[in-house]
C-alpha cells in the first residue's frame, strides 16, 4: 500500500547554476581520501599504517565502539599519508591510487535465497555498511540492530543538489538488488520516496511513496515523519539513493564499486562545466574544479544548505552527490537593513520583495546581518513541515533539557531538516548546529 506525500510548508530556493542532465566521466584522481569526520560519532581505529598497500574494498579503519563496522579504501594503491589534527585526531586517510583498481572479491550472492545474516556480514565486510545511517541521531547504523523500517529518498528538493532520480536512472537493476538486500535486514518494510514521474516508481519489494512539494520534502526525515514517525526506542535506517545501487552492485558483482555521481553546480562554475560527473568516493576536488580562488569563491561538498566547506586540493565527502561553488560574500552592504531592498536574495520574509522577481538568483555566503536573541516567532514553522514545534525544540536543545527534547520530538529530526531554519531565521541562529549538539547529548545520555 503506497501512501502519497504532499508537503505544503517549505521553501524552494531557485538559485543560479544548476547542472545539465548529462553524465560525463571525471578524470581519475591521483590521491583519494576517506575522512572519519564524514561519519559522525565514529571513533576510527586504524588497521593499516602509512605506506601499506591496499586493494579497493580493503578495510583501512574500523569503528572503535562497533568493531564489525569497517571503512574501506575506495581504490587500490598505497596509503600515502594519515593527516591528523588536534589531539592526534585522524582527519584524512590519503591513498595514492594505482592506475587501475584491483578489487577485493566477496563473490556474488543470490539475493533470492540469501538470509539476513549473510547479507549483513557481506555489507560489514565489504565496507558498504557506513552507507546505512540510523535515525534517530543521524549516525552510522549499529551492526547489531534490526530497524523498524528502512527509508530511501530518491526525490531531490535541496537547492542545486544533484538529482538522485536522474543519477539512479541507469542503475535501476542495481538499485532493485540493493532494495532486495535491505528488505531482508528490517522487521518492517523498505520505503522509497520518489518524485511523481520517477523511473523508480516500479521498484519491487518496497513500498513506493510519491512525494510532492517544496524543499525539505526530499529530506528523508520529512518522509519518515509523514509515513511512520520514530518513537522513543525505535530505530529506522536510511540509505542514500545512489548508495542503494552501490549496495546492489556489491551483491551482483561481488565488488564494492565506490562510484559516486557528482553534480557540479553553482553560479561560479562556468556553464559549460555544469554537468554530472562520474567519479569515485573521496576523489580530490581538483579533478573537478581547478585552482579556485577561495577568498572569492567557496567550494562546498554537498548542497548550499548542508554541505561542508572545502579548500583547494581537499576531498569529496563520502555521501554527497553535489559539489557547489558560490561566491564568498565578504563585502559590506550600505544600509543593508532597509526593508524592501536587496530583493535579489530569495526570502520568505515580507520585508523583501523577492517574490516579485522571477527566475534564478545568485547568492553569496554573506550572513546578511548579525546573530541576535530569538525574537521573531512563527517563521521556523513555515519551513519545517513536521508536527513539531521547532523553536521550542531548539530552545530545549540549547538548555540541554533531555526530557523536554524527547517530548518535543528530538528523535524525529536530523540537522538537515533544520537547514532551512538556518536560512530563513531573523536572528541568524545556527539551528543545524544546535540540533546536532542536542542529538549528541542524547547519544551520550540516552544512547
Amino acid at each position: 500500500m503506497s501512501k502519497d506525500i504532499r508537503v505544503r510548508r517549505g521553501l524552494d530556493l531557485k538559485l543560479e547554476g544548476d547542472a545539465d542532465k548529462t553524465i560525463v566521466d571525471a578524470p581519475r584522481s591521483a590521491v583519494y581520501a576517506i575522512k572519519p569526520s564524514d561519519f559522525h560519532a565514529v571513533v576510527p581505529k586504524l588497521i593499516l599504517k602509512e605506506g601499506a598497500k591496499v586493494k579497493a574494498g580493503e578495510p583501512v579503519f574500523y569503528s572503535k565502539y562497533d568493531e564489525p563496522v569497517k571503512f574501506v579504501s575506495p581504490v587500490s594503491g598505497t596509503i600515502s599519508e594519515i593527516v591528523r589534527g588536534a589531539k592526534r585526531r585522524i582527519l584524512e586517510v590519503r591513498i595514492q591510487a594505482d592506475a587501475t583498481s584491483e578489487y577485493v572479491d566477496h563473490g556474488t550472492i543470490d539475493l533470492a535465497t540469501a538470509d539476513a545474516a549473510t547479507i549483513k556480514t557481506t555489507l560489514l565486510e565489504s565496507g558498504c555498511w557506513p552507507f546505512i545511517i540510523q535515525r534517530p541521531y543521524d549516525i552510522v547504523a549499529n551492526s547489531e540492530d534490526t530497524p523498524k523500517s528502512i527509508f530511501i529518498s530518491a526525490y531531490t528538493t535541496a537547492p542545486l543538489a544533484g538529482d538522485v532520480d536522474f543519477i539512479t536512472a541507469d542503475k535501476k537493476e542495481a538499485f532493485q538488488a540493493g532494495v532486495d538486500a535491505l528488505s531482508k535486514l528490517t522487521s518492517g518494510k523498505v520505503h522509497v520516496g520518489v518524485g511523481t514521474d520517477s523511473a523508480l516508481g516500479t521498484i519491487n519489494n518496497a513500498v513506493v511513496h510519491k512525494v510532492k512539494g517544496p524543499h525539505p520534502a526530499g529530506n528523508v526525515g520529512i518522509q519518515i515523519h509523514k509515513i511512520d514517525p520514530i518513537n522513543f526506542g525505535e530505530k529506522v535506517w536510511v540509505v542514500g539513493a545512489e548508495d542503494v545501487a552501490t549496495i546492489g552492485n556489491l551483491f551482483l558483482t561481488g565488488k564494492f564499486l565506490a562510484q559516486r555521481t557528482v553534480a557540479l553546480v553553482g553560479s561560479e562554475v562556468s556553464p559549460a562545466n555544469r554537468k554530472y560527473y562520474r567519479t569515485i568516493i573521496g576523489a580530490n576536488v581538483d579533478t573537478l574544479v581547478k585552482d579556485v580562488n577561495t577568498t572569492e569563491t567557496r567550494i562546498i561538498s554537498g548542497d548550499v544548505l548542508t554541505g561542508d566547506k572545502l579548500d583547494n586540493g581537499q576531498f569529496l565527502n563520502y555521501y554527497s552527490n553535489t559539489l557547489t561553488l558560490i561566491p564568498e560574500g565578504n563585502e559590506y552592504a550600505l544600509l543593508g537593513w532597509l526593508p524592501f531592498t536587496r530583493n535579489n536574495i530569495p526570502s520568505i520574509s515580507g520585508t523583501s520583495l523577492s517574490w516579485l522577481k522571477g527566475g534564478k538568483s545568485k547568492v553569496d555566503t554573506n550572513l546578511n546581518g548579525e546573530e541576535r536573541a530569538l525574537v521573531v516567532t512563527g517563521e521556523m514553522e513555515e519551513v519545517l513541515p513536521m508536527d513539531i514545534y521547532p523553536m521550542q525544540l531548539i530552545k530545549a536543545c540549547m538548555a540541554g533539557d533531555i526530557e523536554k527534547m524527547e517530548n518535543l520530538g528530538i528523535y524525529e529530526v536530523a540537522p538537515e531538516d533544520f537547514a532551512l531554519v538556518d536560512y530563513i531565521n531573523t536572528s541568524k541562529l545556527e539551528a543545524q548546529e544546535v540540533i546536532r549538539l542536542g542529538l549528541d547529548l542524547m547519544i551520550t545520555e540516552v544512547g
Binding site: 558560490i326 559590506y332 532597509l338 536587496r342 550572513l367 536573541a373 525574537v375 517530548n407
Partner: protein, 460 residues
C-alpha cells in the same frame, strides 16, 4: 561609499579585539552595523542566508508606527490650539500651526525616551559583552506615543528607565522579557503618578486650565456625561437619550467619523483608528506582526462589547417597561435618585436599572473599537513577539483574550477606562502558560503514539 567605509574602519581601529577599547566594541558596532550590514560570512550550518535580520524587522515596525506618529503630532497640536484660540473645530486650526505646535510638544518626549533607553541598552551591551539589540528602536518610539502629551519629562525618563531595567534587562535582555517594555513604562507611570496619567484634565496640552478641557470620550462615558453622538440603536437607549447638560462639553460635536479618524483627545499618537489600520496593514503584509493576534484581539473585543451591549439593552428595556407602566417617569430616572430608590427594587432588578443607565454598557460594541487605544494596543503592543504567545494556536487564544479582557476592564472598572494596557500586561504574563498547554497537546500526541506502538509490539 568606499571612503565612508575606510573612515569607519579607521575610527573603529582602537575597538578591535586586542586593542585598547576592545570592551566598548558593542557601542561602535551598533553605529557601524547601522550604516553597513557587516561583511561576515557563514562559518557553519547553511552556507547561504536570507536577507532578513533583526534590524530590518524592527525598522519595519518603526515604519508602521510613522503614520500614527505624524498624525499624533498634528492632533496634539490641533486639539490644544483649537480650544485655546476658541475655534469651532480642529479643522479651523491651520495645518502647519497644529503640526509645529504638536512637534514642539512631542519631540522632547521621543528624544528623552530614546536617549535614556538607548543609554541603558548600550551600558548593558558593553557590560554583558553582547551586541546592542535593535528592540529598543521600537520600544523607544512606542513609549512617547502612549503617554499623555503633558507628562513631565523626568517622569517619562524614570518610566523608561524602569521599563528597560526591571521590565527587560532584569530578565536577561531582548528576547527574554515577560512583559512588553513599552507597556511596563506606561503601567509604572500610571500607578506611580496617577495625577499625570489619568483623569479628565490631562489629555490635551494644558488641559487642566480653564481655557482648555482635556477630557477623553472614555472618561466621559465612564462618568456618564458623554454628550457626543452615538450611532445605531444605542442612540435612543436610556443611557444616551437623557436631557442635554446645561453646558455642552468639548466632546459634544464628536461623531463616529471623528473617532475613526482620530480627531479626539487622547494619548499622543493612539487616537486615529485609520492610522493604526495603515500600520496594521504594513505589519501584516510584511509578516512582522502576527495577523492572528490582531484579528483575534479585534474579534475578542467585539464579542465582549456585544455581550455587554446585550445587558445594556436589557436594562434599557426594563427601564422603559417601568416608565410605560407608570411607576416612574423618564425624567426621574435621570435626575431623581430618590424616586428610583423609592421603587424599592432589589437584586437583579436594581442591577438592571444600573445597566440601563450606564453609558459604557450601552456604547455600541463596534464603536468601542475606535475610542480609547484598544486598536493601537492590539496592533502594536500585543503583537510584540517576545511577550506574546509563540505558537500558532496560542496566538489566537492570546489575541482573543486580550480583546476580551480589554473591553471587560474598560467597562467594569471605570477607574481604569483604558483597560487594554492592563489586559495586554495580564496576557503577557499568561502567554507562556498558554504556550505550555498548546505545546503539551503536541507532546501528548507523541506520547499517545508511543503507547500505541508499544501496545502493538506486545500483541505482536
Amino acid at each position: 561609499m568606499k571612503w565612508v567605509r575606510n573612515k569607519l574602519d579607521q575610527v573603529r581601529k582602537p575597538f578591535e579585539p586586542g586593542e585598547k577599547y576592545e570592551k566598548f566594541a558593542p557601542a561602535i558596532n551598533a553605529f557601524d552595523t547601522f550604516l553597513f550590514t557587516p561583511n561576515h560570512t557563514t562559518q557553519k550550518g547553511a552556507h547561504i542566508r536570507d536577507v532578513v535580520d533583526l534590524k530590518r524587522t524592527m525598522i519595519t515596525v518603526v515604519l508602521a508606527l510613522i503614520p500614527a506618529l505624524i498624525f499624533g503630532m498634528w492632533n496634539s497640536g490641533a486639539q490644544y490650539l483649537y480650544q485655546e484660540r476658541g475655534l469651532a473645530s480642529v479643522f479651523d486650526v491651520p495645518f502647519m500651526d497644529a503640526f509645529i505646535e504638536g512637534a514642539i510638544l512631542v519631540l522632547p518626549l521621543i528624544i528623552v525616551s530614546y536617549v535614556v533607553g538607548l543609554t541603558i541598552e548600550f551600558i548593558f551591551a558593553i557590560y554583558r559583552g553582547h551586541e546592542v539589540n535593535e528592540g529598543y528602536l521600537v520600544t523607544g518610539l512606542l513609549i512617547p506615543m502612549i503617554f499623555p502629551v503633558d507628562i513631565p519629562l523626568w517622569m517619562l525618563a524614570l518610566s523608561v528607565a524602569f521599563a528597560v531595567l526591571i521590565g527587560k534587562e532584569a530578565f536577561g535582555g531582548t528576547g527574554m522579557n515577560i512583559l512588553n517594555p513599552a507597556l511596563t513604562a506606561r503601567a509604572f507611570a500610571f500607578f506611580a503618578y496617577p495625577l499625570y496619567m489619568s483623569g479628565n484634565a490631562i489629555w490635551v496640552h494644558e488641559g487642566s486650565t480653564d481655557a482648555v478641557s482635556g477630557e477623553t470620550i472614555l472618561g466621559a462615558l465612564a462618568s456618564g456625561t458623554y454628550d457626543g453622538s452615538v450611532d445605531g440603536a444605542a442612540a435612543s437607549s436610556v443611557a444616551f437619550s437623557g436631557p442635554a447638560p446645561s453646558e455642552a462639553s468639548v466632546l459634544a460635536n464628536i461623531d463616529f467619523y471623528d473617532m475613526f479618524m482620530g480627531f479626539i483627545p487622547g494619548s499622543v499618537a493612539e487616537t486615529s483608528a485609520l492610522m493604526v489600520i495603515i500600520g496594521a496593514i504594513i505589519l501584516i503584509a510584511t509578516k512582522v506582526g502576527s495577523w492572528r493576534i490582531i484579528v483575534g484581539g479585534v474579534l475578542g473585543g467585539l464579542a465582549m462589547g456585544a455581550i455587554f451591549n446585550l445587558f445594556g439593552t436589557m436594562g434599557s428595556n426594563f427601564i422603559e417597561g417601568l416608565v410605560a407602566s407608570g411607576q416612574i417617569t423618564m425624567e426621574q430616572v435621570y435626575n431623581d435618585a430618590g424616586a428610583v430608590a423609592a421603587l424599592g427594587l432589589s437584586g437583579w432588578d436594581a442591577t438592571l436599572i444600573e445597566l440601563g443607565t450606564n453609558q459604557l454598557f450601552n456604547f455600541p460594541f463596534w464603536q468601542h473599537m475606535v475610542v480609547g487605544s484598544i486598536l493601537f494596543g492590539v496592533v502594536f503592543m500585543a503583537t510584540d513577539p517576545v511577550s506574546a504567545a509563540q505558537t500558532t494556536k496560542g496566538k489566537w487564544i492570546y489575541g482573543i483574550l486580550i480583546g476580551f479582557f480589554g473591553i471587560l476592564i474598560r467597562i467594569f472598572n471605570p477607574a481604569y477606562p483604558e483597560g487594554i494596557m492592563l489586559a495586554i500586561l495580564l496576557l503577557n504574563v499568561f502567554a507562556p502558560t498558554i504556550d505550555h498547554y498548546v505545546v503539551q497537546g503536541n507532546v501528548n500526541k507523541r506520547k499517545k503514539r508511543l503507547n500505541a506502538a508499544k501496545a502493538q509490539l506486545q500483541t505482536a
